[in-house]
Each structure stands twice: as structure tokens, then as C-alpha cells.
Symmetry: C2
């Protein structure tokens, strides 16, 4: 490692904390340090590399931001262990049925009843929600916030919006208060069969509230799914789902038409 004199500001090479981070990273990726292993303490790293504590801390912060390590107060810094992944499969053409409720299904498979907390409010549509529901901004909607739990621990957040124009006055006006639950059965019960679902997936750093509620470590982003249910071209419900990205994989299966007469389908390389 290139050692620099105090205060030379980097003339002799890259910053020390970057060099140390690189060194530690390769020790992790090469398998020298395995998942769950403890990194040398800050004191050890200080003497190992002959630098001050802040340099060591910045180096470790780099690895933490990359999601490679986790710090535990009073215990040390550890190589992050891979999280168990929940697979959320949508639209598998080979499945007997389409599973639009993987949370409930997974919970049942594990012998647990799916649990969630919710809070329903009658309110008005914001500009964004109005656009997704194809209604006028300010129009009446029913908003329900969910927290889904596994072993009592929140693992998914969701907020749904339904236009009162569709459900108002029916037994299912409030999603969790009627005789039927589940979006598709509920809409079926008032004669509206949902024909398709559109999901828009993005990812970003978690908000402080999400970090706290979902117990998300530094360096782990969230995936946000904007899901909208349609009856033909009419949106009947839309919701935002937020999950920790290290615990979920979203799988989509999409058919390719028999032949593309226009010759543009799949015209690029894989990913293009």
C-alpha cells in the first residue's frame, strides 16, 4: 500500500481509505473473509495500516455502503450474510394458476397464517394517484395502508387506493371490512372481473421510516412496486409496495407472440 505523509493530500496516489477499502473488499471477494466473519477491529486496522481511526472508519463505511459488511455496536464489523430470498412470481405461463398473492401463499406453505395490519381512510386523490386511477385529482378514494408481518416482524409495506366511484355503496367499499377479501375476489363480487395487472418496478435508498420499520441495514436499497389492477382499460385499484431489496426477488414471466410480422420484437441483443 502506498503510504502518504500527513497532510500531503493524496499526491502519491489514491486516498488511503480507498486503498484500505479495496484491500478489505478483495479479502472478502476472494473468500479470505467469509460471510459472517468478523473484520479486524478499528483499533487493529489502525495499527495494521498505520492510519488514524477516521481513515479506517471511512474505509469500512465504503464497504458498508456497498452492502458488503454490517456493523454491530459493541461487537464488531461482519461480512454480511446472504438473506433468505422471497420469490414473488407473477404470470408464470406454466403454473396451474396465477399467484397474485404470494405473501399469503408463502405464509401458508410455511404453516403460518399470513398476518397484516391495516388502516383505512376515506380521502381524496392526489395528482399522482388520480393519474394512476384515471380519475380527476381530488376525487374520492379509499386509502388503505398495510404492514405485512412474518413472525411478528414487518417485511413489506403497502398502500392501496381505490376510487369510491367504483366501490362506493357496495359491501366491499372498505377492503378489509367486507364479506370478501383479496382484490380480485372483491372486484368479482361486484361484477368487475380484473383482466390484467400492471407493475412498475423501481429501486431507491430507503426512507428513514422504511429503514426503521423494515429494519433495513445500511447499503441495502428498497424495491418499490407500483401495481395497478385493470378491468379492461379501466384502473380499479392501484397500490405502492415497498420491500427490502436483499430479501425479495421479483419474477415475471412474459409470453412472446408466435411470430412478429413487423420484425422488431427482440431485434436487439439480450437486454437491448
Amino acid at each position: 500500500m502506498t503510504r502518504r505523509t500527513p497532510g500531503d493530500g493524496g499526491r502519491q496516489g489514491r486516498p488511503l481509505y480507498i486503498q484500505i477499502a479495496d484491500d478489505l473488499r478483495s479479502r472478502i471477494l476472494d473468500g479470505d473473509l467469509e460471510a459472517g466473519d468478523k473484520l479486524p477491529s478499528e483499533t487493529e486496522l489502525m495499527s495494521d495500516y498505520g492510519v488514524s481511526r477516521i481513515v479506517v472508519r471511512e474505509a469500512v463505511a465504503v464497504l458498508q455502503a456497498e452492502g458488503l459488511v454490517t456493523k454491530r455496536h459493541g461487537k464488531g464489523t461482519f461480512v454480511r450474510e446472504p438473506q433468505p430470498i422471497r420469490r414473488r412470481v407473477v404470470g408464470d405461463v406454466h403454473a396451474k394458476r396465477h399467484d397474485t398473492s404470494p405473501f399469503a401463499t408463502a405464509a401458508k406453505a410455511a404453516g403460518k397464517s399470513p398476518e397484516w395490519e391495516y388502516q383505512t381512510r376515506h380521502t381524496t386523490a392526489s395528482k399522482v394517484v388520480a393519474k394512476r386511477l384515471a380519475i380527476e385529482p381530488g376525487g374520492p378514494v379509499v386509502r388503505t395502508q398495510y404492514r405485512f408481518l412474518a413472525d411478528g416482524q414487518p417485511i413489506m409495506l403497502s398502500t392501496s387506493f381505490e376510487p369510491t366511484a367504483i366501490t362506493g355503496g357496495t359491501p366491499i367499499e372498505e377492503p378489509e371490512a367486507g364479506p370478501v377479501t383479496g382484490v380480485v375476489p372483491r372486484m368479482d363480487s361486484i361484477g368487475r372481473h380484473i383482466t390484467h395487472v400492471v407493475e412498475e418496478v423501481t429501486a431507491r435508498a430507503p426512507r428513514p421510516y422504511e429503514r426503521e420499520t423494515l429494519d433495513i441495514p445500511q447499503g441495502v436499497p428498497v424495491m418499490k412496486i407500483e401495481r395497478t389492477y385493470y378491468v379492461d382499460r379501466e384502473p380499479v385499484e392501484t397500490c405502492d409496495i415497498v420491500v427490502a431489496a436483499d430479501r425479495y426477488a421479483l419474477t415475471y414471466s412474459v409470453p412472446v407472440p408466435a411470430r412478429d410480422s413487423e420484425g422488431t420484437s427482440g431485434s436487439g441483443p439480450c437486454g437491448g
Copy 2:
């Protein structure tokens, strides 16, 4: 703000840098500071809050990790501006055709020819790749790495794998060297019509190589798409696609079957 005496370690409240971060965050979210606006300099924040520089820097680092601000050396710290989003739509039931090459389509729509660089290698399948292609580990594959460019700037990385057992000896053995390009047309040309595509979406912090190549700022994760093309149940190509999460939204449209006799489809609340 709760001021603490030096070295009291937090008895009187939350850490100073958290309080300062909270204050700055609310000034951003309340619209007091808008996208593109410059935050007070570190020197100003030091005197504004009466703390040392490291506290100010940690506070700003929090906001940076949340993706709210970007630092520019020699200029200042700025509220991040929303990035133009490329929408990648897969499986829209109302579209005339399925667009499996949104990159090329988007480039053409903008009046530019899509550009990419690639590098093809004959190699053997790793355990992971073998599993995705349903072949034996160590089996021969053709591996092609792509960098997709817009205005000369890389915006997407992709690595594809095709088993030589399928393409070997045909004109399309190497994806970019044959008479036909594009996964679907290429496979069509050797009598294998792709029936469906499976995409598995995850998100994580970018690797150093990805940060550099794709020019990803602090606090922005990447989305990784594992895409596999199938002829019936036989995988014929798989690839990994990596994009910056603040510049892409992945949209999937999935049909819901006419009626679910087993009564489990959509049985949970939205997101459940």
C-alpha cells in the same frame, strides 16, 4: 435543536448529525430547498448549528446515502434533480406488438441509432449459469458482454450466455457476428421459436466497476435483471442486465385468468 456539550455522547438526545440531517431533510421535503438548489456550505453549516466540521459532513453523508443530495467538489452540495426515466415495458396486453428491445426502440424514437459495444468469448458455464441454462456445469457456452451507449455514455451493462449445444455450428453461433441479430430472430433463424421470457428483478448497491462505468452517484442503487429466453421449457439464452435505478422503471403487464376456480388468486390485499 438540542445542543450537547462536547463528549457527553448523546445523553441529552439523538446524535447531532442526525438532528442536523433531519432538519436539512425536512427543508428539502418541504420544498424550502428545491431540486438543483445549493445547500449551505460546510463552513456555513458549522456556524449555523455550532458544531465541528465532521458532524456537518456526517449529516450531509446521511442525506447523500438517502439519495437526496449530491456533492460536487469545489462547487458545493446540491439537492438532487430527478433523472429522466427510461421506461422498459414488457408484455403490454394492449400493445400491437411486444417490445423486447426497448433500448433500440427508444433510441430510434429519439432519432439516434442504438449503439453498443460487445465482446464475445467461448467459455464454459459456471454453476450458476449452468443452472439457469439447465445444462451441466462446465458445459460450453458463448458469453457476450455488452455496454449500451446513449450519446456515447454507457447506460446499461449486459452479459449474455448461450449454450453451444444449441447454436454451435450455426451461422448465429456468435450473437453479433452472424447474418441476423436480436435474440428472437436469431433463434427463429435456426428453427427455434422463443415462446416466453422470464425476468427476475433484484436491486443492490452498485459494484465499484458499475459505479464508474455507469457514472452512478452515491445513494443510487442498481437494478439487476436476470432474463432467460425459453423455447417451451428449454432455456436457450440467459443474461444479466444492470442499470442505474434512478434512470429506469421496469413495467410488466400480466393477464389475470378469467376465473380462478381454486379461489386463491388475488386472495390477499394489494401487495399481499
